[in-house]
């Protein structure tokens, strides 16, 4: 099955007062139809910039964007804003992290949805309004006929996020990019929203690019996972591959530093020492090496992202496959471990 979205060697840099920040340093990945791809990483790794760049939201006078974003044979990176706006919302839609600030506070919800519909379709006001009500209903908002006239601040956090999702789906896009959709929500509300997203993926074959830092969320909904660190992809595999056969020390570190409700408490929580590198001047070799207890001489050379044991599971680490299997488990738990 050929992918519907192919990103190749995407580079995004921003010129700032302090120098050029390489937010995304050359990444490549694919999205298949109806698939949920999770992009996981911590703050500053470039996952949000990547997501926004897919539909050209990071374009700015001080931004340098290079590489290819191919959607169904069309090169999105080369389109100008006017052409790109026909892709946005119609084919690829996006929802953002904070639904309170992501909705315009002075317009009614219904008007914000119909605005989007009118921008792409030639329909009457009544038709657009009806569609808005139906959309709200389809995401589980009670009393949609009344609520469609409300303002964003009259909704709770979880409801607002449902509204955002409803709005994003108004033109039945093929791909939904969700940038940390549940980070700002309580855990019981997060469960509702994840259930909603899963349902949409299942019922409508909606492909989802899910940006998150929460591996629990990934485990819950993702089909495939891409792990990002310091602007690069360090590992790319299926859900099971990443959780049960992780092949990069950073992934081990992420998995290890999580608190697990289903396992006994460790005496000390395995941690990753140090901090992510500055993206003004990333380290020349492996970017994770300064924090990695397993670094060795070869790590001074930048490792390529490739499948080191055949198959489609990619990683960016020089360690041999046998070494990886041994080093990653400490006392029955996958984690980064201490230096040998």
């Amino acid at each position: 099955m050929s992918p519907i979205l192919t990103v190749k060697d995407l580079v995004v840099s921003f010129a700032t007062e302090d120098g050029v920040v390489q937010a995304v340093g050359g990444i490549s990945f694919e999205l298949a139809a109806g698939e949920i791809l999770a992009i996981v990483g911590e703050s500053g790794c470039g996952k949000s910039v990547t997501a926004q760049t897919l539909i050209g939201l990071t374009r700015a006078p001080n931004a340098i964007i290079a590489g290819s974003v191919d959607y169904r044979g069309r090169e999105l990176n080369g389109l100008d804003d006017d052409q790109l706006r026909h892709v946005r919302g119609e084919e690829i839609a996006m929802v953002f992290q904070d639904p309170m600030t992501s909705l315009n506070p002075v317009y009614r919800i219904g008007d914000q949805i119909t605005e989007m519909i009118h921008a792409h379709r030639d329909v009457s006001d009544a038709e657009a309004r009806n569609r808005a009500v139906e959309l709200l209903r389809s995401v589980g908002i009670p009393n949609p006929e009344r609520r469609v006239r409300d303002y964003p601040h009259e909704f709770s956090g979880g409801m607002r996020q449902r509204v955002m999702i409803a709005m994003a789906l108004s033109l039945e896009p093929e791909v939904l990019i969700a940038d940390e959709p549940t980070t700002a929500l309580d855990v019981t509300i997060q469960a509702q929203i994840l259930q909603l997203i899963e349902g949409l993926n299942h019922d409508r074959d909606l492909a989802v690019v899910l940006i998150t830092h929460d591996l629990g969320v990934v485990a819950e909904v993702a089909d495939r996972v891409v792990v990002m660190y310091a602007g690069q992809i360090v590992e790319d595999g299926t859900l099971d591959e990443i959780f049960y056969d992780p092949r990069h020390p950073y992934t081990w570190g992420l998995l290890g530093s999580l608190t697990r409700l289903d396992q006994p408490r460790p005496v000390r929580l395995p941690q990753i020492g140090g901090q992510p590198p500055s993206l003004l001047a990333p380290p020349p070799g492996c970017r994770f090496a300064p924090r990695c207890p397993h670094a060795f001489e070869k790590c001074a050379e930048p490792p390529p992202l490739e499948a080191r044991t055949g198959g489609t599971h990619l990683d960016r680490c020089w360690l041999g496959p046998a070494e990886k299997t041994t080093l990653r488990e400490v006392e029955g738990r996958i984690c980064l471990g201490e230096p040998a």
């Binding site: 926004q52 539909i55 939201l57 006078p61 804003d81 006017d82 706006r85 026909h86 892709v87 946005r88 919302g89 119609e90 839609a93 996006m94 953002f96 904070d98 600030t101 992501s102 909705l103 315009n104 506070p105 002075v106 605005e115 989007m116 921008a119 792409h120 303002y151 601040h153 009259e154 909704f155 709770s156 409801m159 955002m164 709005m167 994003a168």
Partner: protein, 320 residues
């Protein structure tokens, strides 16, 4: 909402009362302001002054004088010490001129400010923006009276393009009315155009980074629509509120200098003369008039704000 308005009206009355008392007290403390002495003339002797004092009721205790003056203002029977004319009538007479000047200038300044501010914001950093910025700063820096004098001198007196001041009532001759007001409108507007366009530019640049603007783009709306329906709309809120306050202040007395230089017989000119003569009754009345307008517009602005920004609509319930 009704509760809010009621509250503000009560507040208005309290403020006006306080202002009137303060003005009254100030004028009774300024040296050389003994009206009796001035009215009595240069060669007055103590006896004459005493008689004038008694006539005008200036020997009564201050609170009583205050109450008398307030009563006279509200019943329209206040008489100037200096000219013996009815103060309230004079204010009414000057009102059309002042309103013509202020409303016209306001329309001019808002149109230009929004246009320049919007342009500056969308072309930030480029030549247009820099040029407009310089113009704005020049506009803000020029003192009104100086600008008025310069324009009068060069465009009226020398180039004979415009009339040299004075006011023609609208009802008399609309064309002449406008023709005579062009320079004054421009003079009064220049400062505000500079200031407001800067504020709008700054608000718009901030708004452009807001999350909801990003969402609007992600929805596939045209860039122009994003700029107007989302960026400009939200940036206008503080502009509207500023406008309300400034307009109130301009009508209430901010036009004094412009009226004086251009010799427009409005309330401002009248106030200027009264200050020169240290004539308390017109000063009192004009101050009350000015205060009334400012407080009124303050209240209107607060109500408008609630209309413009649904988040602070008073009396609305919390999220359900």
């Amino acid at each position: 909402m009704v509760r809010f308005i009621a509250r503000r009206l009560i507040g208005m009355i309290s403020v006006l009362f306080a202002i009137s008392v303060i003005v009254f007290l100030i004028f009774n403390v300024i040296p050389n302001s003994d009206p009796a002495a001035r009215i009595a003339g240069k060669n007055a002797n103590a006896e004459l002054i005493a008689r004038v004092t008694a006539d005008l009721g200036l020997d009564k205790p201050l609170p009583q004088q205050y109450l008398t003056m307030m009563k006279q203002i509200f019943t329209g029977q206040l008489t100037s010490y200096a000219s013996d004319r009815n103060v309230v009538e004079q204010i009414w007479a000057g009102l059309p001129a002042t309103l013509s000047l202020c409303i016209g200038a306001a329309i001019l300044w808002m149109s230009l400010a929004i246009w320049f501010g919007y342009l500056s914001a969308v072309r930030a950093g480029m030549f247009t923006d820099r040029a407009l910025t310089i113009l704005a700063l020049v506009g803000i820096s020029m003192p009104v009276f100086w600008l008025a004098a310069i324009l009068l001198y060069f465009l009226s007196f020398k180039a004979q393009l415009f009339p040299t001041g004075s006011y023609v009532p609208l009802t008399e001759d609309p064309v002449q009315w406008a023709y005579h007001l062009i320079l004054p409108w421009f003079t009064l507007a220049v400062l505000f155009v500079g200031f407001y366009s800067r504020v709008l530019r700054s608000n718009m640049l901030d708004s452009m980074n807001e999350d909801y603007v990003r969402t609007a783009r992600a929805k596939g709306i045209s860039e122009r629509q994003v700029r107007i329906r989302h960026v400009l709309r939200n940036s206008m809120i503080p502009i509207i509120t500023l406008f309300g306050l400034d307009f109130g202040a301009v009508v209430g007395g901010g036009a004094i200098l412009t009226e004086t230089v251009y010799n427009i017989n409005g309330v401002g000119l009248y106030a200027g003369e009264a200050i020169g003569a240290l004539d308390l009754p017109p000063l009192m009345a004009v101050t009350m008039f000015g205060a009334f307008f400012i407080v009124l517009f303050n209240t209107i602005v607060d109500i408008a704000y609630a209309y413009l920004d649904p988040r602070i609509r008073l009396g609305e319930s919390a999220p359900t």
